[in-house]
């Protein structure tokens, strides 16, 4: 398949691995930001083929994993309403709130539907004027333009029975939070290619300079990941720290400006709580004042649901790369994909799920 097969070529993979081996002389800790990249490493068995000097840590770029528990509890409260059709991206349904997940709400009679695009949720609202249709607008910069577009469409069409439960987060503030932490181990980043396709990477040079870390915008196929690693290793070995773009076929420096305008027209920057990490200032987007009528939290009066997260798994340390999933005492025991303790085990992009699915042998022998 064009645009895929040439980036999965085993011969090119071998060549790049040899180049990385000859470039690396010291031990380096490199974080791939995005859960999609984590899965691509493990799904292809690529992580085990890297030279031992390179330690990958798996970053917080999994939207399902970082959505805070209380936001899921709010979703559950709204979805349980008899007059509500609750719509969501698929993998959000399996994330447990305090007591249940959206699947359980559906089993108990709630109308919970998987949509592939938020614009479908707007269509559902048009087709069901006697119902309240709510879309769970989560995700990073990648999903924000489409989610913003849904709100714009609803406003333009004067659709009154549509609202969004927003929990948008952004990558650069999370990178700064990790780099600014006293326990930080990360020496270089593979930045998330899809996020940069929307936002560009003009936010990254100041971060690279301030914290002296190489940041390489990287795609998701094996060849992309290896090219990204090679660039990061070359910078680290030569003492450089700049932002560079491996994913040129999709990412421009300034990004997709029309998508950015759509985001800015609907959302404004806000503090966000990250599951497993805490509140990071100005790290997310919320609806701007002129779109408050579409705010599901207000419409359903769930703003005051606050949930205290209990203590079992070590998602926080995993999400910012301090520990690997097998180092969690619950991993593979109390915490499995069938009964996940934490969000990183739930999501298709979560680091724990990736280890559980592809790497259990490393743990059980």
């Amino acid at each position: 398949m064009k645009y895929l097969d040439e980036y999965r070529d085993p011969i090119k993979v071998k060549t790049l691995l040899r180049e990385i081996e000859s470039a690396v002389t010291k031990n380096w800790v490199i974080m791939e930001i995005c859960g999609g990249q984590t899965h691509a490493f493990l799904h292809n068995g690529l992580d085990a083929m890297l030279p031992p000097q390179i330690e990958l840590v798996h970053g917080p770029g999994c939207p399902v994993c970082v959505t805070p528990l209380e936001q899921i509890d709010r979703a559950l409260a709204i979805a349980s309403h008899p007059d509500v059709i609750f719509t969501s991206y698929g993998d959000m349904l399996r994330v447990p709130g305090s007591s249940k997940d959206l699947f359980a709400v559906r089993a108990q009679g709630g109308d919970v539907r998987i949509v592939y695009s938020p614009l479908e949720a707007v269509q559902i609202a048009e087709a069901n004027p006697d119902k309240q249709v709510v879309f769970f607008a989560i995700g990073f910069e990648t999903t924000a333009p489409a989610n913003a577009m849904a709100v714009l469409q609803a406003k333009n069409k004067n659709i009154k029975n549509f609202s969004v439960l927003v929990s948008h987060v952004r990558v650069p503030p999370a990178m700064e939070a990790i780099l600014g932490s006293k326990t930080n181990r990360v020496q270089g980043f593979l930045a998330a290619g899809h996020v940069c396709a929307v936002m560009g990477f003009h936010e990254y040079p100041p971060i690279a300079e301030k914290y002296r870390v190489p940041i390489v915008v990287t795609g998701f196929e094996p060849i992309d990941l290896l090219n990204g690693l090679l660039a990061a290793v070359k910078q680290l070995e030569s003492g450089q720290a700049v932002a560079e773009n491996q994913y040129q076929r999709a990412v421009k420096f300034e990004g997709n400006e029309s998508a950015q305008r759509t985001i800015r027209s609907v959302f404004q920057s806000t503090d966000r709580k990250w599951r497993g990490i805490g509140v990071i200032p100005q790290s997310g987007w919320g609806l701007s004042p002129e779109f408050q009528e579409f705010d599901a939290e207000r419409r359903f009066d769930v703003e005051n649901i606050f949930t205290q997260e209990s203590s079992l798994c070590i998602a926080g340390e995993i999400l910012q790369g301090l520990k690997k999933p097998p180092q969690c005492p619950a991993f593979g025991k109390q915490c499995t994909q069938q009964s996940p303790l934490g969000a990183p085990m739930v999501s298709a992009e979560g680091a724990c799920a990736a280890y559980y699915r592809y790497h259990r042998e490393a743990i059980y022998g």
């Binding site: 398949m1 895929l4 999965r8 085993p10 071998k14 999609g36 493990l42 799904h43 292809n44 068995g45 690529l46 083929m49 939207p63 528990l69 991206y89 698929g90 993998d91 349904l93 399996r94 994330v95 447990p96 709130g97 305090s98 699947f103 359980a104 559906r106 089993a107 108990q108 539907r113 998987i114 592939y116 326990t183 599951r275 497993g276 990490i277 805490g278 509140v279 990071i280 200032p281 997260e309 203590s311 079992l312 798994c313 998602a315 926080g316 340390e317 301090l322 109390q334 069938q338 009964s339 303790l341 934490g342 298709a348 992009e349 559980y356 699915r357 592809y358 790497h359 259990r360 042998e361």
Partner: protein, 350 residues
């Protein structure tokens, strides 16, 4: 940002125990297995040592018979390449054939929702008749129930079947042996993606057709060509789930070769787009066979010449015993584990 709790953070969620049935319990993966192990097998499965095969084997006066049952609930009822009627016949014929039986007769039970059109039902029944003729079996008995509007989604069909197992044939998920060559009968994931594309709301169209087909004639030819140890039709849960089940039943290590797995480009593209792994997508007219190493060539040749086996391919082998595991050699030369489908397959976010 001093108050960020990076160090001591301990996460969140309480262990999830569902006290109600959720859709994932019907996905054919580990949740389905949990339901079996927790509820059905302890109460009802004591006398069925082969409950995890596609059919049970019952011996009467020295003759072995295969028995099986399957309920069919598909939405939409008509999909590219098939419909619920063809599915109901082929599903049960195939389950019988997967233990090496020659299917003889089926029964069918219909649950009809009030308001269902006769025209639609007629189409389904005609399709069942055609599939039964193709498979060479007859419908021996039937039953009809009507439930009030909303009590069912248009039409559910249960089919049960019986078949005769010829002497010398011994096929079971527990019979995989070291060295066995693993063959699939054709492209993987066609049915699941065809049905998905016919559903509303996914926003893509394909010309892909379901592979739903009766495989008993193909299997007959295979059995005559060589020694078959295991057969399974990788329906719900896909090829990955079937192979994990077999590795557990036989306590063997299986190695799959990603590059030899046959996929239609449309299936691959749809899976890339939706974030699905085609190894978990359902098939209805495909089988996976574990064949004695020395007979593998003969069996593969026969398959390629037979209807529904034209695209058959060797995809892996049994590389060891004593440890149940499925490994995949990835296209780029790495290795990873393959697990069962954990629950419902969900489109990813981005």
């Amino acid at each position: 940002m001093d108050d960020l709790d990076f160090e001591g953070y301990t996460c969140p969620v309480p262990i999830r125990r569902t006290d109600t049935v959720i859709l994932g319990h019907g996905s054919g993966g580990t949740l389905s297995r949990d339901l079996l192990n927790r509820l059905f097998l302890p109460e009802l499965g004591k006398a069925a040592p082969r409950a995890l095969d596609d059919s049970a084997v019952v011996t009467i006066d020295g003759q072995r018979y295969a028995l099986t049952t399957d309920s069919h609930v598909v939405s939409p009822l008509f999909f590219p390449g098939g419909d619920i009627g063809r599915l109901a016949i082929c599903g049960t014929v195939n389950d019988l054939a997967m233990v090496g039986a020659q299917p003889v007769a089926l029964t069918c039970g219909f649950v009809l929702e009030e308001g269902l059109s006769f025209d639609l039902l007629q189409h389904v029944v005609a399709s069942m008749k055609a599939a039964a003729q193709e498979a060479g079996i007859f419908i021996a008995a039937g039953d009809t129930k009507v439930v009030q509007k909303g009590g069912a989604d248009q039409l559910f069909i249960n089919t049960s079947g019986m078949g005769k197992i010829p002497e010398g044939v011994n096929i079971s998920g527990a019979n995989a042996k070291e060295g066995d060559v693993i063959i699939v009968s054709g492209t993987i994931g066609d049915h699941g993606i065809a049905v998905l594309s016919a559903r509303e709301g996914l926003g893509f169209e394909t010309t892909l057709e379901s592979d739903v087909a009766p495989l008993n004639h193909l299997i007959q030819a295979m059995i005559e060509a060589g020694e078959i140890h295991v057969l399974r039709d990788p329906t719900r849960g896909g090829l990955a789930t079937s192979l994990v089940e077999i590795s557990e039943q036989s306590n063997v290590t299986i190695e799959l070769n990603e590059q030899s797995l046959p996929f239609k480009p449309a299936v691959k593209a749809a899976c890339e787009m939706l974030g699905f792994d085609p190894l978990y997508v359902a098939n209805e007219g495909k089988l996976v066979a574990f064949v004695k190493e020395s007979d593998a060539h003969k069996v593969l040749d026969v398959m390629k010449k037979a209807k529904y086996g034209e695209d058959a391919a060797v995809v892996g082998r049994v590389i060891g015993t004593g440890k149940s595991q499925v490994r995949l050699k990835t296209a780029i030369g790495g290795t990873r584990l393959v697990d069962m489908l954990p629950g419902e397959m969900l489109p990813r976010i981005c």
